[in-house]
Amino acid sequence: MIHGDPIIARIRESRPLSPTLKRLVLEPADGAPLPPAAPGAHVTLRLKSAGRAWNNAYSLVSEPGRRDRYEIIVRRVHASRGGSAHIHDTLAPGDLIDLSAPINLFPPAASARRHLLIGGGVGVTPLMSFPPLLRALRAPFELHQVCSAAERGVFEALLSPHGPDVHIHVGRGAIDLPGILERQPLGTHVFVCGPEALMEAVTGAAAAAGWPASSVHQESFAAASGAPFTAVLARSGRRIAVAGNQSLLEALEAAGVDAPSLCRGGACGECMIGVLDGAPDHRDHYLSGPERAGGALIMTCVSRARTPALVLDL
């Protein structure tokens, strides 16, 4: 389930930024003001096509607080669950789509003296709404974007308006993460969003430099695809097939199960369900080490199974 009534939005603009990136401008279908969104917020698009449904979360890159439009950037992901391809190939200006009200699980840190923002590829989108706020507050920040050579121009154009403290690095080898983390003054908080390997590199370098965990923030919108498996609902005995290109949460939703969810990125813990049998393949950022090892809990939005079946406490 998604919290609250959906907002019906009309696609006002769908503009390619690169062969795989599209910027969508969404406006309220009824013209009423949209709920205000704070920096770091995302919305969940409810997409439907030919019998399939997706609930995909995208960060808002529009100016924070703007109520006449939401803007998102969508990467077309090959061999994924198919929602992004639907957005790229099928949706056109004028189409109506349902979306959730904005949810913010990745806000700037009020107590931070300095924000160190590190993005990887299109993962930079939740960070794009930070600089306007930080500049207005005269709060120091620096933004580092890691991307491919082909997309350097795209991200330069998107990020350079945020001022001189924006640095673009082509390839992860081009960024000196230990050096950047070691020289930050007291009171700095780091925010990273991007591919799993980049987030691990940043959190690892931060820990090696002695950063407390409470000053390190990450958000992922990882695809949850993998080997197919079967979810067994213990209370009803129902067996639900989870396809390889579908998340466990999506399979539950498609079967009409009222499963909890919020961030859909393995960060918030809302979708946690008890596991009674089978071994989860944990891909979230929420459970602690001992909880992972225990295997009694799963985040349905990103995690999968290492056994052919998982028996869920549902």
Partner: protein, 179 residues
């Protein structure tokens, strides 16, 4: 005991930190107690200023605070600060650490010594140092203050409120602080 009343643990270096500075009010303890700290600074009244890196002595608490402020302004992430001494001293250190941007996960405090309190008079704002009992005459306005168990981390002090406000001259019995 009120929830605002801090509790303290023995100090040991936080394994997640990279550089560890321990500041102590009063005479230094045995060296064996200080293993794992990169530096120890001590405010020992009357001691000469020493420039040794590992063990630095300051003639006054104020001199230590000034050196600490200078140090914190140039420090980087990975630094951990530890303070040991009277409750007023360790929370004064905490406030300076906060002013420098440090969070609760980066500062560790331990109160040692006599259970005396710094008492903030809510009527005149005077800070009364070294109060050992729960009834004290304010140094500023001469009010008879009852010392509450409420501790202000911002002021590094317990709050003192006029004890005979209802009926002037009628005061509860004074009791020494237990700890």
């Amino acid at each position: 005991m009120s929830k605002s009343r801090p509790t303290y643990q023995p100090l040991k270096p936080d394994p997640t930190g990279r550089r560890h500075l321990l500041v102590i009010e009063g005479p230094p303890a045995a060296p064996g107690d200080r293993e794992g700290f990169d530096e120890t600074w001590v405010a020992a009244p009357g001691s000469p200023v020493s420039a040794a890196v590992a063990m630095r002595a300051f003639p006054t608490v104020q001199a230590l605070h000034e050196a600490l402020e200078a140090r914190l302004s140039g420090e980087t992430m990975g630094f951990r600060l530890y303070a040991e001494g009277s409750e007023a001293f360790v929370w004064d250190v905490f406030r300076r650490a906060q002013d420098a941007g440090m969070g609760r996960a980066e500062v560790f405090l331990r109160h040692v010594g006599a259970p005396v309190r710094r008492v903030y008079c809510v009527h005149c704002g005077t800070l009364n140092e070294g109060v050992a009992v729960n009834l004290v005459e304010c140094q500023g306005c001469r009010a008879s203050l009852g010392v509450r168990d409420h501790f202000s981390r911002r002021l590094s002090a317990f709050l003192g409120v006029q004890a005979d406000a209802e009926t002037p001259g009628v005061l509860p019995a004074a009791e020494a602080f237990a700890g």
